[in-house]
Subunit: 152 residues, 4 copies
């Protein structure tokens, strides 16, 4: 136990939610290796599922994420949050819904919802904030063509 | 692209930060398998590191997490957030600092800071909110002895 | 550097290969989080993919793996091997082919091949050996109904 | 179910074992996220632990793996095998022992043993075969200085 040298100020922050107009949906199934000894999917996997969701979202806009990187731009994760409502079990199928909450040349915010296979229940919701950088991590605005494509 | 049936209300939320009085610290090193093709530690690993941090925190209070589970109580993750400030690279060592932001019999909030090996720079900060349940996921208050021990 | 107390004898071992008669096939795509800083899928992921393959194999035989566990039997991994022939890159799609090499009430051997999305090139091959146990890890023969179903 | 187009020949293969003369040892502890719903460490994690073991082995020889890569050489995994003898549970500590089975400018074979925290029981043993390549995956012999250093 030690005295904390730093004490980062808490900030007021609203959790982005899915845009009602426009989202993509993919189906996934819980892998055995994604469960933990409590018998449910471990919390870290949801951030991997969010990534699958936004990969599908940008692909649906006609610009696969690999292509964005091939052009020299990287949507580095600056913040990631998830709220867990219901557990997921081994071999359970669910939907990952992904929408765009905010997009400028420098900042992109995706919002996510995981829902049960019957579409009836919310499993988790969350968001990720991304900063656009070059390969070396230097903040670099996205060109307007990419921003417009993803904004759709 | 579909219309969103649900539209969860955003809520105002302050990010908990490390209590300046009392935190534990452990050293970790980035594994090769934890890096991604951008050459930095992937965002999902931070949530695994937070887990190592709170494991150490409750152990330091004299009650290993495995013991809490052996007594029939589970600190299920209800929310997890991370803000990424600086990238971590392969074989880089860093500290995980963990403090307790809030603790009642039903809800526990841990706050985390990852700092560089020289203690000079903040790598990431975050928090996790936990609900106390029994083995089947039913909300179950922690007994006072456990609450008092962890509150220290 | 220390003297090794034990020195397990090496044994002669043939790598099982896919039965030409009978295998299942599923398509997977490399996740960003599955790549490492060399830009290719990390070697540990192949064992997760093998697991997806055998899950599909037993499901195709009419007995989902979750059902086998619900009956009180566990196909615990006793050995797992993989030979890597070609790297896999982010967002690359590939097939996981799974066949049964051997199956008795106590021992099951699955063989796997990963092939490129065009079906032309071998990416990796491997096998896993499983021992049948009860929930506590005690070796327990599978009932004939399960063995016959999986043998197909 | 389909006919298999390829049928890779099985080959006779001896599992390398730890050299009794010379190995490194590190202590690790099973993370919660490394367990699965059977309550034991999932089989894929052992390959991550092997990687930690060989990282320590080459570091002990005075040449950190990151330095080998900085020189333009990559020890790409060509084969990885593990035999599982005893399960590992959450928060259990164990040792990873790593030795060198074979080393030429083109091929390196590491052997591993995981043993219980009291040093009394074998948990798992395995090996990995590595081919030396350049950044683009082209087979490239290691320079004699590196080979000699690692051979010790």
């Amino acid at each position: 136990m030690k005295k904390s040298p730093s004490s980062e100020k808490s900030t007021i922050k609203s959790h982005p939610s899915l845009s009602p107009q426009d989202y993509t949906e993919i189906k996934e199934t819980v892998r055995y290796s994604e469960t933990d000894r409590l018998g449910i999917a471990h919390n870290k996997n949801y951030f991997e599922w969010f990534e699958l969701g936004r990969t599908e979202f940008v692909r649906s806009k006609g610009i696969p994420y690999a292509e964005i990187e091939a052009l020299g731009f990287y949507l580095v994760v600056a913040e990631a949050c998830c709220r867990y409502k219901r557990p997921l079990r081994y071999d359970e199928s669910f939907f990952i819904r992904t929408g765009l909450s905010e997009m400028t040349s420098k900042k992109t915010v995706f919002a996510y919802e995981l829902v049960t296979g019957d579409g009836q229940h919310l499993i988790a919701s969350g968001y990720t904030v991304h900063i656009s950088t070059d390969k070396d991590g230097k903040v670099t605005p996205l060109p307007p063509e990419i921003v417009e494509k993803i904004r759709g």
